[in-house]
């Protein structure tokens, strides 16, 4: 194996591993002598230096890790932060609304209303600071429940949850018989998978019932 290829392999392994990776492991995976790993990494670092690369390889005990150069920290920070001004996706907006009007609710509740798994969407909203955990529901499984945050109020120009714009026909929604409310799930996107829907729906109804009790 040529040295160029060895360097490529070591670089790829370091990139993919993310975390610090032990010297012997690099040696094993890339099929190079343990003794030659440090010199290969030295070559890579020299190359990075020469071209003013944004990345470098750091040694930590007997491990190595690929990371960015400190001097680029401001750019990286800006790049990662620009994400916060990315508009909410449809899915996120729907999920946020469901939480806002029914809070506090579990992921299961959101999923039942939306008809699809919404776990990652909820996590995303938590990351953005729009919703937060509000304890656990006292039912088997103890699901975490979520509520909206002050950031949410600010983002939508509201001074409190009571200011939420009324929903058309919302008398059905905010009244206590939420069991009713959820029953619209029977009409999930594709009626064709109704066998499944029936089950989920029953669960939803139960959820809601329990929800009511705990309220």
């Amino acid at each position: 194996m040529e040295i160029k290829e060895k360097l490529g392999a070591v670089e790829a392994v370091l990139f993919a591993s993310g975390e610090p990776i032990e010297l012997y492991r690099i040696s094993e995976a890339c099929g190079v002598e343990v003794g030659s790993v440090p010199s290969l990494i030295k070559l890579l670092n020299e190359r990075y230096d020469d071209c003013g690369s944004g990345i470098c390889i750091k040694k930590l005990d007997s491990s190595y890790q690929m990371c960015t150069r400190e001097e680029f920290a401001p750019q990286i920070k800006t790049a990662l932060e620009t994400k916060k001004s990315t508009p909410l996706s449809n899915a996120a907006m729907e999920t946020l609304t469901i939480i806002a009007y029914n809070q506090p609710v579990s992921k299961g509740f959101v999923e039942n209303v939306r008809g699809v798994d919404s776990s990652s969407v909820v996590n995303n909203l938590v990351e953005k600071g729009l919703v937060e955990e509000a304890g656990r529901l006292d039912v088997p499984g103890k699901p975490i429940i979520y509520k909206t945050t002050p950031v949410f109020l600010r983002s939508f120009g509201l001074s409190s949850i009571a200011d939420l714009p009324p929903l058309p026909g919302h008398e059905n929604v905010t009244t206590d018989d939420e069991g009713e409310q959820i029953s619209f799930d029977t009409v999930t996107d594709e009626e064709s998978d109704n066998a499944e829907t029936i089950t989920t729906n029953t669960e939803a109804a139960e959820d809601a019932a329990e929800h009511d009790i705990s309220d």
Binding site: L80, E94, G129, V151, D163, P165, P168
Partner: protein
């Protein structure tokens, strides 16, 4: 027989089976010989029964659909059959194209060989910074809750669908067997059409179809050669020249 070689579990639904049969028997997908396809498809279903495999309702539905096309072609107005046949061909062509495209795409799959990194864990403020009108919330809620305000006719349809799923289990083929036998005791013979008359429920149609199939299998009844008439085996008078395929095989 060819059919024996079927590995039933490899099929993804009835259209998949049909495509397989079309390839195997070199049928023209642009102008399918329905009777030949039906024959092969029924052999497939029979094989499934032999292997004690429970076929999903959609497989039987397809059998009913093929029989319907075949039967309708014999009616005074064969246009409907022609239309249905075209539609079936369209579906099959589309699926076969899709399969070809999927094979091509699968060859390009390098997903397992390319590695990426997780985002670096840097403490950054991810707090959402955009501002929206509160009405955006109502809009978003409407997208989901429109499902809530279900028009009456849609509600019925949904109920009907749910019922049909439930009924599929509750209404056994046996009731249809009884129904057919009763008809036959009364009249001696009955047109296939009449058995399906007014039966709009999908599961009931399937049950009827299966009932005819079962009764034929056990040699209780015979179906005329053109598949339009059902009568007690051997009890048919006058027109004995109508011999069913089944009985001539036996």
């Amino acid at each position: 027989m060819d059919t024996i070689s079927f590995k039933l579990d490899v099929f993804e639904g009835p259209l998949d089976v049909l495509l397989n049969l079309i390839t195997k028997h070199k049928l023209n997908i642009y102008d399918i010989e329905i009777s030949k396809l039906l024959e092969q498809y029924l052999l497939f279903i029979e094989e499934a029964h032999k292997q004690d495999l429970e076929l999903a309702g959609e497989f039987l539905e397809m059998a009913a659909r093929l029989i319907y096309i075949k039967t309708a072609a014999l009616l005074p107005r064969p246009e409907e059959a022609e239309q249905m046949k075209k539609e079936l061909e369209g579906a099959l062509i589309e699926l076969s194209l899709c399969k070809a495209a999927a094979r091509e795409l699968a060859e390009r799959n390098v997903g397992g060989d390319i590695f990426v990194r997780r985002p670096m864990k840097i403490k950054v403020d991810m707090t959402y910074s955009l501002v929206h009108e509160p009405e955006r919330l109502v809009e978003a809620y409407a997208a989901v809750s429109n499902k809530k305000i279900v028009p009456e006719n849609q509600k019925n349809r949904i109920e009907h669908k749910i019922n049909s799923v439930v009924k599929r289990r509750i209404v056994p083929v046996l009731t249809k067997v009884v129904h057919i036998l009763r008809e036959l005791y009364a009249t001696g013979e009955v047109y296939m059409d009449k058995l399906y008359e007014g039966v709009t429920d999908r599961s009931a149609r399937v049950a009827t179809f299966l009932a005819v199939l079962e009764l034929t299998r056990f040699g209780r009844i015979t179906i005329s050669e053109d598949n339009t008439l059902v009568f007690f085996k051997g009890e048919r008078g006058g027109r004995t020249k109508w011999k069913s395929k089944k009985s001539s095989e036996q």
